[in-house]
């Protein structure tokens, strides 16, 4: 059952990603990307990381996708002719993919089957974030606040 679900979700996610990369109209590409995001969330839920999956939907579909769509809407007119195939982009993409694949397959972490002995409840995630990982959490908070203030300063008009 899990294998069947994995195959279905994988096809779904890959089709979404492929459509996002190839569709001629930018807005369609952005919405296909959402299909990919949902597929990823389904993967997380399939792996038992329910919280991460829901946050993936919440942040990526609810916020990032809306942001992308709005950016497209506010910045550019619909391009009519298609750009020629970008070889440099393809090489960079392949290099990144290869690098990630090499790194992941050579890390010890992947090959030790690490099955959590307790259920991954939201309560445990919250406890871990508030005790063991409080410093990373605070740093991320400061970083995001700084980014937000920076964005505000960039668009602020002196009166």
């Amino acid at each position: 059952m899990n294998t069947a679900a994995f195959v279905v979700i994988a096809i779904f996610t890959l089709l979404g990603a492929l459509a996002a990369a190839t569709l001629p109209r930018l807005i369609h590409a952005a919405l296909s990307l959402v299909v990919g995001f949902v597929g990823l969330a389904a993967f997380y839920i399939l792996l038992g990381a329910e919280f991460v999956g829901l946050v993936q939907i919440f942040v990526y579909v609810g916020a990032v996708a809306v942001l992308i769509v709005f950016t497209i809407l506010l910045t550019r007119r619909e391009a009519t002719e298609r750009d020629p195939f970008n070889w440099l982009g393809a090489i960079v993409a392949l290099a990144v993919f290869g690098g990630l694949l090499w790194t992941i397959s050579h890390s010890d972490f992947v090959w030790q089957a690490h099955v959590p002995n307790q259920d991954l409840t939201v309560r445990r995630i919250g406890d871990a974030l508030m005790t063991a990982y409080i410093w990373p959490l605070l740093c991320v908070g400061v970083l995001l606040t700084a980014a937000m203030i920076g964005a505000l300063i960039l668009v602020y008009e002196e009166k």
Partner: protein, 396 residues
């Protein structure tokens, strides 16, 4: 416990259907169990939608000193049936220059989150269709995808009114999602869980034997409930926050180019969203399916839930019949300058309450904190503008 047979009648009915399958593989039982719950949701809520659509028109009629629908069936109660048939046989108009796929998918994308959101609410004792650990988060996660559906409807229609309406809808939904989520936070903090069942269980029992332990009876709970309700009004695009479909300016917003059954689906999705928000409000603040008085606990739990839900829905309709439409800049200012600080105040007050271990001292401390922040905000936000008599330059 008296009345338990009646209380658990639906749970037992489902159990007896599933017991027919004993011996079948486990995955089959799981699928059948899910299908039964889905069927129940799909019967109850569209039915409630039909009922509410006619009741709303009748109640609004009362507010406006007229009868409302009273021709079809007794008291006009069969009106939704007539409306449904009318919507089904209407022509489905798709604009020639519309983005056909997006125009087609948008209503479906609108309905799915609303239905999914309804699945995690506890409707009665042991009656949560989809009981997961992060139920409240699930509701918000699927609810946040509605914005994309609205965008698809607006963009796909290729119409300036649709696009304007979609932009307005998304702007106000994004702004009010923040207060909506932050007002839920105090309850989650106090209960220490994101599951609807645990939140309802935490509101069991009575203070001094009479006052129910619902979170709305605490100062932070009452404030958070009011803020939550106002944000809920915005999220479901109801008056006074219905600028996205302000019919006097932009026809019907993102629904301008929809006709026939697609329009009906939009309409239904909007009401189902309203049910989900109200149901969440009942679960979080109004004690879920608990009875208000101990003596009334004989009445089945689901009846209590739906009674509270109907009260909230009536308030929705009441507000629609009473308040005029707000201007978009007022809505935005209200969100960022008042709602957001006040909802943070609720979080702080809940923390104080928890620190004092509840009780009278906790009650007083959190009340004082909220009162101070409210007074400070009111002073800060007072523009000091006096309203002079309006002078007309051209209309005299």
């Amino acid at each position: 416990m008296p009345g338990e047979a009646l209380d658990q009648i639906f749970v037992r009915a489902k159990g007896s259907i599933l017991s027919l399958l004993s011996g079948a593989p486990e995955w089959l039982v799981q699928i059948v169990s899910a299908l039964i719950s889905i069927t129940a949701l799909l019967v109850v809520f569209p039915g409630l939608f039909a009922l509410i659509s006619v009741l709303e028109r009748k109640i609004l009629g009362r507010f406006q000193n007229r009868y409302g629908p009273n021709r079809v069936g007794p008291f006009g109660l069969l009106q939704p049936l007539a409306d449904g048939i009318k919507m089904l046989i209407k022509e489905d108009v798709v604009p020639t220059r519309a983005d056909k796929t997006m125009h087609f998918i948008a209503p479906i994308m609108m309905l799915i989150p609303a239905l999914l959101a309804l699945s995690v609410i506890p409707y009665g004792r042991n009656m949560t269709p989809f009981a997961i650990d992060a139920g409240i988060l699930f509701l918000f996660a699927v609810g946040s995808t509605t914005e994309l559906a609205v965008f698809m409807a607006g963009w796909g229609s290729n119409n300036k009114f649709s696009m304007l309406g979609a932009m307005r809808a998304i702007a106000q939904m994004v702004s009010y999602e923040l207060p909506l989520i932050i007002t839920v936070l105090p309850v989650v903090m106090i209960v220490g869980s994101l599951s609807g069942d645990a939140i309802v269980a935490a509101q069991d029992g009575y203070h001094f034997g009479i006052i129910p332990r619902w979170f709305v009876t605490t100062p932070w709970g009452a404030t958070a409930f009011l803020l939550f309700f106002a944000s809920g009004l915005v999220e479901s695009n109801r008056t006074p926050f219905d600028v996205p479909e302000g019919e006097s300016e932009i026809v019907a917003g993102h629904m301008t180019e929809y006709s026939g059954f697609k329009y009906a689906i939009f309409f239904m999705a909007e009401y189902l969203g309203m049910f989900a928000i109200s149901g969440l409000g009942v679960t979080l603040f109004l004690g879920g399916w608990h009875a208000p008085i101990k003596a009334l606990e004989i009445i089945p739990s689901y009846i209590w839930f739906f009674a509270k839900l109907s009260v909230l829905l009536f308030v929705f309709i009441w507000i629609r019949g009473t308040l005029p439409r707000t201007r978009i800049d007022h809505i935005m200012n209200f969100a960022w300058k008042f709602m957001l600080p006040m909802s943070f105040a609720c979080v702080l007050a809940a923390a104080l309450w928890h620190f004092q271990a509840g009780g009278l001292r906790g009650w007083l401390w959190s009340f004082a904190l909220i009162a101070v922040i409210y007074a400070g905000l009111s002073r800060l936000l007072q523009t000091g503008r006096r309203f002079a008599p309006r002078t007309y330059r051209f209309a005299e």
